[in-house]
């Protein structure tokens, strides 16, 4: 299969034609014309986005999301690779489950789905899962995380960090000291004091980050901090990097834009873990992402059905969907504020995450021979988020009704178009 993307703008403002054949970029130039023509005039062509933090709910909670529906949401959001978190039912703590998720992703065929393995059996935080078996499975797992729960036992965390060195793995930590966050409902601060909701203090995140960067330094392993939310956390990661410790960090789109005062009406769509923080934190996160202290954006796409949110705050589930709004939210928070360029965005949302995870065919510089995992964006568009038009099976977006900049127009997975003018096309495995 062969096609030509014409008049595409690259992040360096060059306008080019790009020929894709047999799944790779075969030619870049001008006046090119081979196969089907896809007009990209005025639009930006970038490597497909890569997410290292996605909850797909299959197996076990297919009422919220399946690998297929989550993959469609990913394609609509411009992602060509996503990473399925391990907190499914059963937990992805064996080769069998990660291979199942990987295969479901291939069968759906809208994006590459790379499973993340659990660090501990059943996410129980007691004993290591079979990390080696998952690494050596067909899913070739390299990222391990108990996300949703913190690996809080310091000895177990140390062992996990050491053990994954065999296959150059990485431990992605959900940094939340459990003893400091019993029954916690929202950021602890001015707003929680007024609302009478149990606080989730910043120190509960920072204490684990501090401990884990020291552990990573001690054993010389790779540590990834999931969804950083606090100004203090950014400082700690900055300190770790200045000491040469092998740590990477992630921030979600929602933590770059939303603050805890949104909780004031107890609307559970704003209930998320870790919680929305203060404006000061948001500004520190933006600065950290801009200066590279925070390496990547991870969506923490967390689908929940209506009934799990349609109740009093305390009983509502934690989490927000984010794949389909991620790019636009980051543009709003980082580019519209002039804190980052498009080149920076491509680094934080495609190149850097692919590099951390070792997704060799994703996040590549656009050049001849590169795998055609591509996204085309209309950077002049504005759109209004409509929950009913989301491809995700769940509708729990905090951005409902919000006008957002930039729109994903086309997405190409390994040379196959999966999104055309904003519509999902051509599912299924590549023959």
């Amino acid at each position: 299969m062969e096609f030509t993307i014409t008049n595409a703008r690259l992040i360096d403002d060059q306008v080019v034609d790009v020929i894709v054949s047999n799944g790779v970029i075969s030619e870049i130039g001008s006046g090119l014309n081979k196969g089907e023509k896809i007009d990209a005039a005025k639009n930006l062509l970038i490597p497909g986005l890569v997410d290292l933090h996605t909850h797909l709910r299959e197996p076990g909670r297919e009422d919220s999301e399946t690998v297929a529906t989550g993959s469609m949401a990913a394609a609509k959001g411009g992602f060509t690779a996503i990473s399925a978190m391990a907190n499914t039912f059963p937990v992805a703590d064996t080769a069998g489950v990660v291979e199942q998720v990987y295969r479901l992703g291939q069968e759906a065929g809208f994006c590459d789905v790379f499973p993340i393995g659990a660090v501990t059996q059943g996410l129980a935080g007691k004993s290591l899962a079979e990390l080696g078996a998952m690494a050596n499975s067909k899913a070739r797992v390299r990222i391990f995380s108990d996300d949703g729960k913190c690996v809080s036992d310091p000895l177990l965390m140390r062992r996990a960090l050491e053990y994954v060195k065999t296959f150059n793995g990485i431990i992605a930590q959900h940094a939340q000291e459990p003893a400091l966050t019993v029954d916690s409902q929202m950021n602890e601060g001015i707003v929680s004091s007024k609302l009478g909701l149990v606080g989730w203090p910043a120190v509960a995140e920072e204490a684990i980050i501090a401990r884990d960067i020291l552990l990573a330094e001690h054993v010389g392993s790779r540590l990834h901090i999931c969804h950083l939310t606090t100004a203090g956390g950014v400082d700690l990661v900055r300190f770790a990097k200045s000491r040469g410790i092998n740590v990477t960090a992630e921030v979600t789109p929602h933590h770059l834009l939303l603050t805890d005062d949104l909780v004031t009406n107890y609307d559970s769509v704003y209930k998320v873990n870790p919680p929305l923080r203060t404006e000061r934190d948001v500004l520190a996160l933006r600065k950290g992402l801009a200066d590279g202290t925070i390496d990547i954006v991870g969506t923490d796409h967390a689908p929940h059905p209506t009934e799990d949110k349609d109740c009093e705050w305390q009983s509502a589930a934690f989490g927000m969907v984010g794949l389909e709004t991620a790019l636009s939210v980051v543009v709003k928070a980082m580019i519209d504020t002039k804190m980052m360029s498009w080149a920076d965005l491509v680094d934080r949302m495609s190149i850097a995450p692919a590099k951390i995870a070792g997704y060799l065919h994703h996040g590549q510089i656009l050049k001849v021979g590169a795998t055609a995992n591509l996204t085309i964006i209309d950077t002049n568009a504005n759109w209004i988020v409509d929950r009913n038009r989301l491809a995700s099976k769940s509708k729990n977006t905090p951005f409902e009704g919000m006008q957002l900049p930039s729109r994903v127009v086309h997405t190409f997975l390994n040379g196959k178009q999966v999104l055309s003018n904003g519509e999902i096309v051509n599912g299924g495995a590549v023959e």
Binding site: E188, S193, L195, G196, L197, V198, D310, W313, Q314
Partner: protein, 317 residues
């Protein structure tokens, strides 16, 4: 006035005084021959209680009945935790029953607001205590009680000095009282060990003290809060004895209050923990007035939310 009473923030100072004035009118009428007013005849008030509180339920029930409303008591205790029967299902049932007002008591902060905002129900919602958030009618009845003891603060609480003592962190009574008393002009001091003061308190319009003895002489109103001994298990304080020594109102502390000062407690009291028996039963204690005033103030709230015309006009008509 707003359609709902979810938080003291729903009221302006004028509206709050209007409720207190209405309660005063109702008090006068109650002393006369007409014990029951026809005001809410044909209207349905539902007491929706997800938490046990016989005292509060009975207070609302008497208030509604004295205004001739039909009262339905809907006890949903236990179902709030079981996922199956949710707040939403219950609300939709009440809607089908034609409730005009729902008085809700719930263990989750924000449950009343959720009920009001959800679109599940068209009734007026009155918050009768939601988790550790607010209990606005308690604050109103406390303000009414204060005013009845200090006539000089009839129009404004400017110059009134109140100390609220105890578990501020977990107290919906404290939150509503801080909002209401400061709105009406009083100066409020919170007194508690630092573990029982919320981290975000700097934003509240109050003073904070860790030393009860230093504030006793300078208050007109001493409001003691219930302290649950389960807080001790979670290390908010080391022992009941130590709490009592630091923050309990014993007879010595009671005697160091100024001559006209009053002692309040929202009940139920832990005698011997936050308040000694002598203090609870002393002439400074207005605990029983609080209970009696609860009915009047809740009548006034129901009247303001559901009634409409002025009370005087209606009674004379």
């Amino acid at each position: 006035m707003n359609k709902h009473l979810l938080s003291i923030n729903d009221l302006s100072a004028e509206e709050a005084f209007e409720i207190l004035n209405t309660a005063s009118e109702l008090a006068k009428i109650s002393d006369g021959p007409m014990k029951k007013l026809p005001t809410l005849r044909g209207r349905t008030v539902v007491n929706l209680f997800f938490e046990d509180s016989t005292r509060t339920r009975i207070s609302f029930e008497s208030a509604a009945k004295r205004l001739s409303a039909d009262v339905i008591n809907f006890s949903a205790k236990g179902s709030s935790v079981s996922k199956g029967e949710s707040l939403k299902d219950t609300a939709q049932t009440l809607q089908a029953m034609g409730a005009d007002a729902v008085v809700i008591r719930h263990g989750a902060s924000g449950a009343a607001q959720r009920l009001a905002d959800s679109g599940w129900i068209s009734a007026s919602v009155i918050n009768a205590g939601d988790g550790t958030h607010e209990h606005p009618t308690q604050a109103l009845l406390d303000a009414y009680t204060i005013r009845s003891k200090f006539p000089q603060f009839n129009q404004s609480f400017d110059g009134l000095r109140v100390a609220i003592v105890g578990d501020i962190l977990h107290s919906r009574v404290a939150r509503s009282n801080v909002l209401l008393l400061t709105k009406l002009g009083a100066s409020v001091t919170l007194v508690a060990p630092p573990t029982l003061i919320p981290v975000g308190v700097a934003d509240w319009k109050v003073k904070v003290s860790y030393d009860l003895d230093s504030v006793l002489k300078e208050v007109d109103v001493l409001m003691m809060l219930r302290v649950q001994s389960e807080r001790m298990a979670n290390s908010f304080f080391p022992s009941e004895r130590e709490y009592s020594r630091g923050y309990g109102l014993d007879i010595t502390r009671l005697n160091s209050l100024s001559k006209n000062a009053i002692v309040m407690h929202p009940g139920p009291m832990n005698r011997g923990l936050e308040i000694s028996a002598e203090s609870a039963d002393s002439h400074k204690s207005v605990v029983l007035d609080q209970v009696a005033n609860g009915v009047l103030v809740r009548m006034a709230v129901l009247y303001q939310l559901l009634g409409g015309a002025t009370l005087i006009g209606e009674v004379s008509a």
